[in-house]
């Protein structure tokens, strides 16, 4: 290592202080060191700077640092073993969801930052009347990441609850909890003004009105919604073909806060509801 550094020093010697000659001033291990303090996104982009950067931006040491520190433990919980050729390869494999904990959750890394994202399977959630076939039916869908998902046939007492241990999530990170779902064409009753999404973590609690149905034409414009601060809780289409709505936000500090408890319920107005297909609750870092 010392002789390598000397060799670099001697190359420098010839160039004096001219910085035009590639990256002679900083050897590759220095570039990798600098990149380790940036983000996966910055590192991927910097691969295009020069060949020295390309090499540094692909190094195992760099990507080891971007992977979660408990990566080995996460991989040991995977339902299907994850194969990979390098740390960078592993990182990008984990940017696509993998099933963990016997299929009760799916896990992935948020690509730009390497922070942890989980989705909780409905099978591990508590649904009011969830096992009563009059109210809910459990179906298999090719586009679902979980084996079985519940479809709402008909209820008026609507209450779904899921939780995740805060130790599983990235520390010092603001998260948003979402309900991920689909609607059958004749869905109804899922927009009651008394329908509330909530997130509880320790002494912290947030609660918001959450509609699971598209808004009517004459609804407020984006600007009005932004003014009222409800824009973030609008229904959005996801890349995986499902829909999502925000249930609430929370902050993971040291990961010793206990369980994050998420809930969506409408038990006041009690109008009949129909046509929700539930993929799960997702927690992912706030953008």
């Amino acid at each position: 290592m010392a002789t390598q550094k000397r060799a670099h020093a001697e190359e420098d010697e010839e160039q004096g202080h001219d910085r035009g000659g590639g990256f002679a001033k900083l050897p590759e291990e220095c570039v990798a060191q600098v990149l380790s303090y940036t983000t996966p996104r910055d590192s991927c982009r910097s691969a295009l700077v020069s060949k020295a950067f390309l090499s540094a931006a692909g190094s195992d040491a760099l990507w080891e640092g971007f992977l979660p520190s408990d990566c080995a433990e996460i991989l040991s919980r995977a339902v299907h073993p994850v194969q990979y050729s390098s740390k960078k390869d592993l990182y990008f494999r984990l940017c696509h969801p993998i099933l963990v904990d016997g299929g009760g959750k799916s896990f992935l890394l948020e690509r730009s930052t390497g922070k942890k994202t989980y989705m909780i399977s409905p099978a591990k959630m508590i649904l009011a009347h969830g096992s009563n076939h009059q109210y809910w039916t459990w179906i298999s869908l090719p586009e679902s990441r979980f084996a079985k998902v519940p479809e709402l046939l008909s209820v008026c007492w609507f209450d779904i609850y899921g939780s995740i241990d805060s130790r599983l999530l990235s520390r010092k990170t603001a998260y948003v909890a979402y309900i991920v779902f689909k609607l059958v064409p004749d869905a109804y009753g899922l927009d009651s003004p008394h329908q509330k999404g909530s997130v509880i973590l320790g002494s912290y609690e947030s609660a918001n009105y959450v509609s699971l149905q598209p808004e009517e034409e004459e609804e407020e414009s984006d600007e009005e919604a932004a003014e009222e601060g409800t824009e973030g809780r609008r229904m959005r289409s996801r890349e995986d073909g499902w829909l999502e709505v925000e249930l609430g936000e929370f902050y993971i500090d040291e990961g010793d806060e206990g369980d994050v408890e998420m809930r969506l319920r409408e038990t006041e107005e009690l109008q009949w509801k129909h046509g929700l297909i539930l993929q799960g609750f997702e927690v992912r870092p706030k953008k």
């Binding site: 001033k25 220095c30 983000t39 982009r45 910097s46 295009l48 700077v49 020069s50 730009s112």
Partner: protein
């Protein structure tokens, strides 16, 4: 404060660092040992106060750059027990890396060459903060680097992670 040559005092072991531009820095062993490179070298050749070892440095480590590194090493050799404790030391570290771009890169190089790990962490963090969210062109300009890729190679790298360029 640490630039120029000091007379060795009291028979303590000393070592002389000589820059390409002819300046000599005489430092004690505790300061020199902050550098992994110097520590290894001196454990083989030794040094004394009467006949201090003179170590020549490459041209990229100018007297101004070495001055910074020596300042860091002296302060950290003394540790947090002096001049206001750990808090003062942390503040010293923060202020040390408030440098213009060229100086910051030179000190980064010197910290790597001399193997001063904590100083390298500090400067690497400062460089990383500076280049965060920069475009590829801006990063090249920052480091004074010219692309050595063909157009075809650039296309391949871009296509591997188009999201990083959005």
């Amino acid at each position: 404060m640490s630039e120029g040559t000091k007379e060795p005092d009291g028979g303590e072991e000393k070592v002389v660092l000589k820059t390409h531009d002819g300046q000599e820095f005489t430092v004690d062993m505790a300061t020199a040992n902050q550098s992994g490179t110097l520590k290894n070298l001196l454990s083989e050749v030794g040094s004394s106060s009467n006949n201090p070892q003179v170590i020549p440095l490459p041209s990229s480590i100018t007297s101004r750059v070495l001055g910074k590194v020596v300042e860091y090493c002296q302060r950290h050799a003394a540790g947090g027990g002096r001049r206001g404790g750990m808090q003062a030391l942390e503040q010293f570290d923060e202020e040390l890396v408030e440098l213009d771009k060229d100086m910051l890169l030179d000190v980064t190089y010197a910290a790597a060459f001399l193997d001063v790990p904590r100083l390298l962490d500090l400067t690497s963090q400062a460089v990383a903060d500076a280049i965060k969210n920069m475009s590829v062109e801006e990063v090249r300009h920052y480091f004074g680097v010219v692309s050595d890729f063909t157009e075809e190679e650039e296309k391949v790298i871009r296509s591997e992670c188009p999201w990083a360029f959005e």
